[in-house]
């Protein structure tokens, strides 16, 4: 006869499995699980010997398959928990810094917005991981973590505090303006992309197979290009943009940003090297790149795929703050997590 059992808490995967299998294959009169000094005890009574034997064989077979999976689940869960803790610490630090600088009036409007944007980013990320933890491992997985209540995902920002409606609205306002700014950044990139677009190359010629087409080709091409440039400067109402003007701007911007990127990437690389040294405990990934020494070399080539994490020169607000938070973090595990977030963010932006 199988007795209904109820396993409270997370428990250990193996123990719970063994408990369940044993109960299924044994004749059980009583099955209890006790927690004594934070250790769980699984108590079975009146179990016959053959039941235990079957349970042991099945457990042996299952353990080979389940072992790896269970380890992965636990490992992934722990990783996420650590990420939440690391991000929350960075958030606390940012909130603290922001309050302090506000008090000392040491912040410009832009800097303040940058801080807020960063805090919003951290909040959203924490919420995301908490949600993932809840989904994958249940509510118990977020116990003692700075996760918002299920129904207040965006609302509860500060750990352990219940926000008023006004605070929640303010928080949403920040989220909204942060999102608008991000959209602005995207639009800016789109504008750059558009400006970089070259007029279609007509070198291949446009011929209808007759001499007429060839004769007039050059003239028409000339007209098109001349007007393109013309339109750049003559448009007054302004939609505005025009190919001619845009191109000129891009070329200038491109040159400037390339120089800046090159220069600051070198600095970033040095920082990366330093950080890698400082965080040697974690073994790997303690800097923006696994190999800190390489950062300076490749920092200038931001367009190269795969080197995203090395290019610290063109960090936006969130990336820069994440990098700084990672650099300041003293706990090697949390430092590693913050660098991971930095790399993920950079990859996402790219």
């Amino acid at each position: 006869m199988v007795t209904k059992i109820r396993v409270k808490g997370k428990g250990d995967v193996f123990t719970r499995l063994f408990f369940a299998v044993s109960v299924s294959y044994a004749t059980v009169k009583e099955a209890r699980m006790l927690t004594v000094n934070k250790s769980r005890w699984y108590y079975l009574s009146a179990m016959n010997r053959s039941g235990i034997l079957y349970a042991a064989i099945i457990l042996l077979l299952l353990s080979t398959v389940m072992g790896a999976a269970a380890t992965l689940i636990v490992s992934s869960e722990k990783e996420l928990q650590q990420s939440v803790i690391a991000l929350d610490r960075a958030r606390h630090q940012a909130i603290h810094d922001l309050a302090e600088k506000k008090q000392n009036a040491a912040l410009g409007e832009t800097q303040q917005k940058d801080y807020e944007k960063f805090i919003i980013f951290l909040t959203v990320k924490i919420d995301e991981y908490c949600q993932q933890l809840r989904t994958e491992a249940g509510d118990d997985a977020v116990e003692n973590l700075p996760c918002p209540e299920g129904s207040q995902a965006f609302g509860a920002v500060q750990t352990g505090s219940v926000q008023t409606s006004e605070e929640q609205v303010r928080e949403l306002e920040r989220l909204f303006s942060g999102s608008l700014e991000q959209f602005d950044d995207k639009l800016l990139k789109e504008e750059e992309r558009l400006s970089a677009r070259q007029p279609r190359d007509r070198e291949s010629g446009y011929s209808y197979g007759g001499s007429q087409g060839q004769d007039s080709e050059g003239g028409a091409a000339g007209t098109g290009q001349a007007s393109g440039q013309d339109s750049g400067s003559s448009d007054t109402t302004g939609t505005e943009g025009t190919a001619g003007q845009g191109q000129e701007d891009t070329e200038m911007d491109g040159t400037r940003s390339a120089e800046e990127t090159g220069a600051s990437a070198g600095a970033g690389g040095e920082k990366g090297a330093e950080t890698a040294g400082a965080g040697a405990d974690s073994g790997e990934g303690a800097g923006p790149a696994a190999g800190g020494s390489g950062a300076g070399q490749s920092g200038g080539s931001s367009s190269q795929p795969g080197n995203v994490e090395l290019d610290t020169g063109n960090d936006d607000v969130v990336a820069r703050q994440l990098r700084e938070a990672a650099e300041k973090e003293t706990d090697p595990e949390l430092k590693k997590k913050l660098w991971e977030e930095y790399r993920k963010y950079k990859a996402g932006v790219q």
Partner: protein, 409 residues
């Protein structure tokens, strides 16, 4: 002799009408000057216009008329024409920002839609309608123009198109309607446009601010307060939306410039070929008819003159031989028509292959941008909804944003 005259007239009649081009719609006048603003208007007098990418329409049903035309060309024209209309309108100084939109623009103050009824390079026929944010239809008209050969010369991007008279006529009709509006009308159009966009982004808040009558005409019921924070948020989204459309317009403008040369060439060469073909057809028909008339005349001469003199015989023989030659050369001309038709077909294929990748490119960019923006707008709508819920205390499950679709990476 009277019989011969009547017969000759009947035979020559088709020659007189042969090759006359017939396109649907009333032709616009020649040399139409654009109406230009004589002063600079303030913001309240400048209405923003959204021109939707035109409906490419359908190709002619008759196989003969389809020669050298293709859907690819129509697709290209459906983008090219509104862009040139935009430039034509912008120059007048009567309008705010004129934008090309890939689809209906709900928050627009004035929306222009069009359909290509006919286009073969030589003639262009468009149906254009304009309506404002209140759903008041300004007009719906069909415009036609058959370009003269010299109108294909001296064209210039943004400024002077082959069918510039037609573009000026449309722009002038829009301006005339705009000039008939009172300042109150313009203000109402601007406010309704804003509220319609508000309804789109925050329906919970602005859902009841407009009402529509039996004609679907929208009326303002409430106006938001001057310091309405939610409207400020909506405006900030609207300005982003406009910037996005401006970016898309950048692609359209680049597309227009890329297409200008091959499209101008195609229209010019095609018009020349069509004119030549029409001339050859007329000539061929004339020769055939003259030939036939000469033979009939010879028979008539034989029938009416009883004199069997050598002179009469010679005249008859000359007429018959001359008539036969005319008919023969008429058929030769017909063969030239076939050659020209093939050239026109070739022009069409060549231009299609040039225009198609341009259309694909601009459409690809448009889809990419609008697609990613749609997600962003959905996110903003959720946030606005949640802010409204929090501000009013009307918290609902629906108002809780979905974490997975966060705007932040």
């Amino acid at each position: 002799m009277r019989f011969v005259k009547i017969l000759s007239l009947l035979l020559l009649a088709p020659v007189l009408f042969a090759g006359c081009a017939t396109v649907p719609g009333k032709q616009v006048d020649d040399q139409i000057a654009p109406l230009m603003a004589s002063k600079e208007f303030g913001n309240q007098e400048l209405l923003n216009v959204s021109i939707k990418v035109f409906d490419p329409g359908e190709l002619p049903e008759k196989a003969d008329e389809q020669a050298g035309l293709s859907l690819e060309i129509r697709e290209a024209e459906a983008r090219f024409i509104p862009i040139h209309l935009k430039y034509s309108m912008q120059r007048t100084g009567y309008w705010g920002t004129v934008r090309i939109v890939p689809d209906d623009d709900i928050g627009s103050e004035v929306q222009v839609r069009g359909k290509i009824e006919f286009s073969d390079g030589e003639s262009l026929v468009l149906t254009v309608e304009a309506l404002d944010s209140r759903n008041v239809l300004w007009f719906k008209k069909t415009y036609a123009e058959t370009a003269l050969l010299n109108e294909h010369l001296g064209t210039e991007p943004e400024k002077e198109d082959t069918f510039q008279d037609l573009f000026n006529k449309i722009a002038n009709d829009l301006t005339e309607y705009r000039n008939s509006l009172t300042p109150d009308d313009m203000l109402e159009i601007q406010r309704v446009a804003e509220l319609r966009y508000g309804q789109l982004m925050a329906p919970d808040v602005y859902g009841q601010y407009l009402s529509s009558d039996n004609n679907n005409r929208l009326h303002i019921v409430h106006l938001p307060a001057e310091n309405d924070l939610m409207m400020e948020r909506v405006r900030s989204i609207r300005s982003r939306d406009n910037m996005l459309i401006d970016t898309i317009n950048g692609y359209y403008e680049a597309y227009y410039l890329d297409l200008w040369e091959p499209y101008a060439n195609w229209r010019q060469f095609r018009s020349e070929e069509i004119a030549t073909m029409r001339e050859i057809k007329r000539e061929a028909l004339k020769r055939k008819i003259i030939g036939a008339a000469a033979i009939i005349g010879a028979i008539a001469v034989g029938a009416t003159i009883d004199d069997n003199s050598a002179a009469t015989d010679t005249l008859q023989q000359v007429m018959v031989v001359g008539g036969a030659y005319s008919i023969y050369s008429g058929f030769q001309k017909s063969q030239e028509v076939t050659i020209n038709k093939e050239v026109i077909e070739e022009l069409g294929v060549s231009f299609s292959s040039e225009a198609e990748p341009l259309v694909v490119e601009v459409e690809g960019e448009t889809f990419r941008l609008t697609g990613s923006a749609e997600e962003q707008y959905a996110e903003w709508r959720k946030i606005l909804k949640q802010i409204y819920a929090r501000e009013t205390g009307l918290v609902s499950d629906e108002a809780i944003p979905d974490q997975s679709s966060s705007a932040l990476p």
